[in-house]
C-alpha cells in the first residue's frame, strides 16, 4: 500500500509560482493592442479559473477565452479594444498545489483610468488574506489530525500497548477529513474571495494538482479508518498504520515547499521526516494524556530531536541571507515559531506534559501559517 502511494506521488520540485516576466511588460505604453498576453512564471503552473483576465479600459474582458498553459508560460488571446490602460489579473496554481495571484497594467496609445476589479491589493504572500487564513486553518486541522491518527496510534500500539489511544485515532480521521473542505475553499478564497463558493472555481481547483493531493489525503484517512476496523481481527496489521502515516507524510511533502539546492527526493524525504516527527511527538503527547506509559520519554526525545534537526535544515535551505528573517512574511512567521519551539523543548525537558502539549500546538499553528506563505527561496 505504501509502495502504491509512493508511486502515485507527482515528482515536482516547486514553491509558490511567481511572475518572472511578461509580454507586454508591466507599465509599458504600446502603439497597438498585442494579439496575445504572455506571462512567464518561476515554475510550471495550472491556470485557476480563467488563469488570466485582461480588462479593457471600459472594465469589460478583452480576451477571447481562458488562458492556456505551456509549462511555465501562460498565454491568452485578445480580441480588439480601444486605447487606454488595460489591467491584467492572473490566478495560478503551482505544481505543489499552492495558489498565487497578482496583477499589473499596460496601456495602448495613452494611459487612462483603470476600471478593473482591484485585485491583489493588500495581498499577503501572493494571495488574499482571508484565503491565507483559511489555508493555515486547513493545514492546522490536517496536522493535528495527522498527529492523532498516526502519532497517537503508534504510541498506543507500540509503546503503551493499550487500546485507549486508538480512540483518538477516530478523532484524527474526522479531523483529517474535515480539513479537506476547508483547504478547498481556502484555495478559491486565496485567489478571489468573492468567488469562494463558485462552482467553476471549486471544480477547476479539484481538477488541478491540488485535487489529486486532496484525494490522496482523503484516501489516507479512509484507509486508516478501514485499518482500524480490520485491527480487531488481525492485530498484525498494526504495522500498516505507521507505514500509512509515512506515506501520508510523503504526500504532504510534495505539497510543501521543496527545498531549493537539494535533489528533489532528498528535499521530499526531509519534509516527510519533519512532518512524521511532528506527528509522533504531538500525537504521542495527546495519547500520553489518555494513557501514560514510561516509554514516552524516549519517543519524545527522539521525535523532538528529529523535528529540530530537520526543521533547522529546511529553514537554512529556504533563506539566502539572515535579513530575510525580518523582511519577509515567511521570515517573520519563523521568528514567531522559534521561541515557541524553544518553550516546548524546555517544558518537555522538565516533564510538564500539558504545557508541552499547548506549546507544541502553537508551534504547529505557526507552522501551518509558515507552509502557506511563499519562502524567500
Amino acid at each position: 500500500m505504501v509502495g502504491t502511494a509512493l508511486a502515485l506521488l507527482p515528482v515536482t520540485a516547486s514553491a509558490h509560482a511567481r511572475l518572472t516576466g511578461s509580454d507586454p511588460a508591466p507599465g509599458v505604453v504600446l502603439d497597438h493592442l498585442p494579439a496575445t498576453v504572455n506571462l512567464f512564471f518561476s515554475e510550471p503552473v495550472t491556470p485557476a479559473g480563467r488563469g488570466i483576465s485582461v480588462y479593457r479600459p471600459d472594465g469589460h474582458l478583452a480576451q477571447t477565452g481562458p488562458a492556456r498553459a505551456q509549462g511555465s508560460r501562460l498565454s491568452v488571446a485578445l480580441a480588439g479594444g480601444t486605447d487606454g490602460t488595460y489591467a491584467v489579473v492572473w490566478t495560478v496554481i503551482a505544481g505543489d498545489t499552492h495558489p498565487s495571484r497578482g496583477e499589473f497594467t499596460f496601456s495602448v496609445g495613452h494611459a487612462s483610468q483603470v476600471r478593473a476589479p482591484g485585485q491583489g491589493q493588500g495581498d499577503v504572500g501572493l494571495v488574499a488574506p482571508i484565503g491565507l487564513f483559511l489555508q493555515a486553518l486547513g493545514r492546522l486541522m490536517h496536522f493535528a489530525g495527522f498527529a492523532l491518527a498516526f502519532g497517537a496510534t503508534t504510541y498506543g500500539l507500540f509503546v503503551a500497548r493499550v487500546p485507549g489511544p486508538l480512540r483518538l485515532a477516530g478523532a484524527g480521521v474526522a479531523l483529517l477529513l474535515a480539513a479537506e473542505p476547508i483547504s478547498l475553499i481556502a484555495q478559491t478564497a486565496s485567489l478571489d474571495p468573492t468567488q469562494t463558493f463558485d462552482g467553476d472555481a471549486l471544480t477547476s481547483m479539484l481538477a488541478s494538482p491540488f485535487g489529486r493531493v486532496l484525494a490522496l489525503h482523503v484516501a489516507a484517512a479512509l484507509v486508516l479508518w478501514a485499518l482500524l476496523g480490520a485491527l480487531r481481527q488481525a492485530p498484525w496489521l498494526r504495522w500498516a498504520i505507521p507505514a500509512l502515516g509515512r506515506a501520508l507524510a510523503a504526500v504532504d511533502a510534495t505539497a510543501a515547499h521543496a527545498a531549493p539546492s537539494l535533489a528533489p527526493p532528498l528535499g521530499l524525504a526531509l519534509n516527510a521526516l519533519h512532518v512524521s516527527a511532528m506527528g509522533l511527538w504531538l500525537g504521542g503527547l495527546a495519547a500520553f494524556a489518555v494513557a501514560p506509559a514510561d516509554g514516552f520519554g524516549r519517543v519524545a526525545t527522539w521525535s523532538a530531536g528529529l523535528l529540530v534537526v530537520s526543521g533547522a535544515a529546511l529553514a537554512l535551505l529556504h533563506f539566502a541571507n539572515p535579513l530575510e528573517l525580518m523582511t519577509t512574511a515567511y521570515g517573520l512567521s519563523l521568528l514567531v515559531k522559534l521561541p515557541l519551539v524553544a518553550a516546548a523543548l524546555v517544558l518537555a525537558w522538565r516533564g510538564r506534559r500539558r504545557w508541552e502539549l499547548a506549546a507544541l500546538l502553537s508551534v504547529v499553528a505557526a507552522a501551518a501559517f509558515l507552509v502557506s506563505l511563499p519562502p524567500p527561496r
Binding site: 502504491t4 502515485l8 471544480t203 481538477a207 484516501a219 478501514a226
Partner: protein
C-alpha cells in the same frame, strides 16, 4: 454412448441468450462519442440513457421472474428478444435525446433485464440437481462477461461503418435468437419426458416460485432491519458504481479523450472481461476457504487504490493502463461470491434469493448513479479525473464498511457460496 441430456441444450441456449442480452445492454457505451459527434448531445444527456438502461437491467429482473412463472420462460424470452430488436432497430430513426432515453434506456433496458439473472436462476433450478452450482456460475459469468467482450466489434462497427450499423447488428442478432429459443427452449424437464439432470425419483420437481412481488417486498422488510444488510448494500452500491457504471460506461470515452482510438479502448474493456472470468473463479474458490469480509476488504481496498492510480495511468500511456486493466479485471465481479456468502450467512439460504435481489438492486442503482454522474462530471468539468478519484475514494470507504460486518453469531465455517440468487 449416452445421449446428451436435454438439460444441457437448455443450458446452452440460456447461456447464449444471457451472453447476448448482456452484450446488447453494454452497446450504448460504444455509442457515446459517435452520438455526441452526430447530434451534439452532451455526455450527461447520453449518460442518462445508459443510467436508465442499467437500472432497468437490474430492477426489472424480479418482475421478469413473475412473468416467467405466469406465461412461461420461452414466451417471455421471445418477447424480450423482440423488444430488444425493436428498441435497438428504431434508434436508427431517432432525432431527439428523449428518443434515446426511451429506446436505449427503457425499451432495451426492460428487454435485456428480462433475460438477466432471474432467467439463470430459474433454468438452473428447474433443469439441474447435480452440477447446479456450476451451471449457475457459468450463466452468471455469461451475464458479466457478455457486457464486455463484444465491445471491440461494436466499437469497430461504430467507427468504421457508423453507430447505426451497431444498432442494426444488435437488432439483427436479437431477431436471430428468436428461432433458436422458439425451437430449443422448453419449460420443464417433464415437457420432454425427462427428469432434471441428476435428479432421482425422490427429488421433487422444483417448486413453483412464491408470488415474486410479495416475496421481493418481504425480503426488503427482512433486510432493512439488519445492520449487515446495509453494510452489504452500500458496499455493493459502490461496487456497481465503480464497475458497470464508471469503467464499463466511461472507460472508452475517457480513453478517447486521451487520444486512444475507440477500438483499442473497447479492447481494453474486453480484456477486463477476460480477466474477470479468471478473477471470479479464483474468488469463488477463495470464498470457500477464507473469511469473506477479508476478501471484500482487499478487493475494495485494492480497487480503490487502482482507481486513484488511473488518472496517472493515462499519463504514462499504455503500460500504466495495461497494469490497471489486469488488476481491475481480476477484481471486476470478484466481489459477488463473498457478498452472496455473507448474505447467506446473515439471512440463511432460504431467504437468500429475495434479500440478495435487493442487494443486487443496490448494485445496479450504484451503476446507474455513476454512469450518469461521471457523464455529468465530464460535461461540466471537462475531465474524468474527479469522477475516477471519487469512485476510488468510495471503494476505500467500502473496504472500511465490509470489515465492520458483524459479528457475533456468524459461524466459523461458511456455507457454500452461491454465485447467483436462486429465486
Amino acid at each position: 454412448m449416452k445421449r446428451l441430456h436435454y438439460s444441457w441444450v437448455v443450458a446452452g441456449v440460456t447461456f447464449l441468450t444471457l451472453l447476448a442480452a448482456a452484450g446488447f445492454r453494454s452497446t450504448p457505451s460504444t455509442l457515446i462519442v459517435p452520438l455526441q459527434q452526430e447530434f451534439g448531445w452532451s455526455r450527461a444527456t447520453i449518460s442518462l440513457a445508459v443510467a436508465i438502461n442499467l437500472v432497468l437491467f437490474g430492477l426489472f429482473a424480479p418482475f421478469a421472474g413473475g412473468l416467467m412463472e405466469r406465461f412461461g420462460v420461452r414466451r417471455v424470452v421471445l418477447a424480450a428478444l423482440l423488444t430488444v430488436s425493436a428498441g435497438s432497430g428504431l434508434t436508427v430513426f431517432m432525432r431527439e435525446p428523449w428518443q434515446l432515453d426511451l429506446l436505449w434506456g427503457v425499451v432495451v433496458g426492460v428487454g435485456t433485464g428480462s433475460m438477466a439473472s432471474v432467467l439463470a436462476a430459474i433454468v438452473a433450478n428447474r433443469w439441474f440437481v447435480r452440477r447446479r452450482g456450476l451451471v449457475l456460475g457459468a450463466l452468471t459469468a455469461a451475464g458479466a462477461t457478455g457486457q464486455l467482450i463484444f465491445l471491440p466489434a461494436l466499437a469497430w462497427l461504430a467507427v468504421n461503418v457508423g453507430w447505426r450499423a451497431s444498432a442494426l447488428l444488435v437488432a439483427g442478432a436479437a431477431l436471430l435468437g428468436v428461432p433458436a429459443v422458439a425451437f430449443l427452449m422448453r419449460e420443464r424437464p417433464a415437457d420432454v419426458g425427462l427428469r432434471a439432470y441428476g435428479a432421482s425419483e425422490a427429488d421433487e420437481p422444483a417448486p413453483p416460485l412464491r408470488n415474486p412481488l410479495r416475496a421481493t417486498l418481504g425480503g426488503l422488510a427482512l433486510g432493512v432491519r439488519n445492520r449487515n444488510f446495509w453494510l452489504l448494500s452500500i458496499s455493493f452500491f459502490i461496487c456497481g458504481a465503480s464497475t458497470n457504471g464508471l469503467i464499463g460506461t466511461h472507460l472508452i470515452p475517457a480513453s478517447m479523450d486521451h487520444g486512444l482510438p475507440e477500438v483499442t479502448a473497447a479492447s481494453l474493456l474486453a480484456t477486463i472481461g477476460i480477466f474477470d472470468v479468471a478473477g471470479t473463479m479464483i474468488s469463488g474458490w477463495l470464498t470457500d476457504r477464507m473469511d469473506s469480509r477479508w476478501l471484500l476488504f482487499w478487493y475494495y481496498g485494492l480497487r480503490g487504490l487502482s482507481l486513484l492510480f488511473l488518472p496517472y495511468a493515462f499519463g504514462i500511456q499504455y503500460f500504466g493502463l495495461i497494469l490497471f486493466i489486469v488488476f481491475y479485471g481480476l477484481d471486476w465481479v470478484a466481489t459477488v461470491p463473498p457478498t452472496v456468502a455473507l448474505a447467506a450467512d446473515t439471512f440463511g439460504k432460504r431467504n437468500l434469493g429475495v434479500v440478495y435481489g435487493w442487494i443486487f438492486a443496490s448494485h445496479q442503482l450504484g451503476a446507474a448513479a455513476a454512469a450518469f454522474g461521471a457523464g455529468a462530471v465530464r460535461t461540466y468539468f471537462g475531465d474524468y479525473q474527479i469522477a475516477f478519484m471519487t469512485s476510488g475514494l468510495l471503494c476505500l470507504l467500502a473496504a472500511g464498511l465490509v470489515i465492520r460486518i458483524g459479528g457475533a453469531r456468524r459461524q466459523e465455517k461458511k456455507a457454500a457460496p452461491l454465485p447467483a440468487p436462486s429465486y
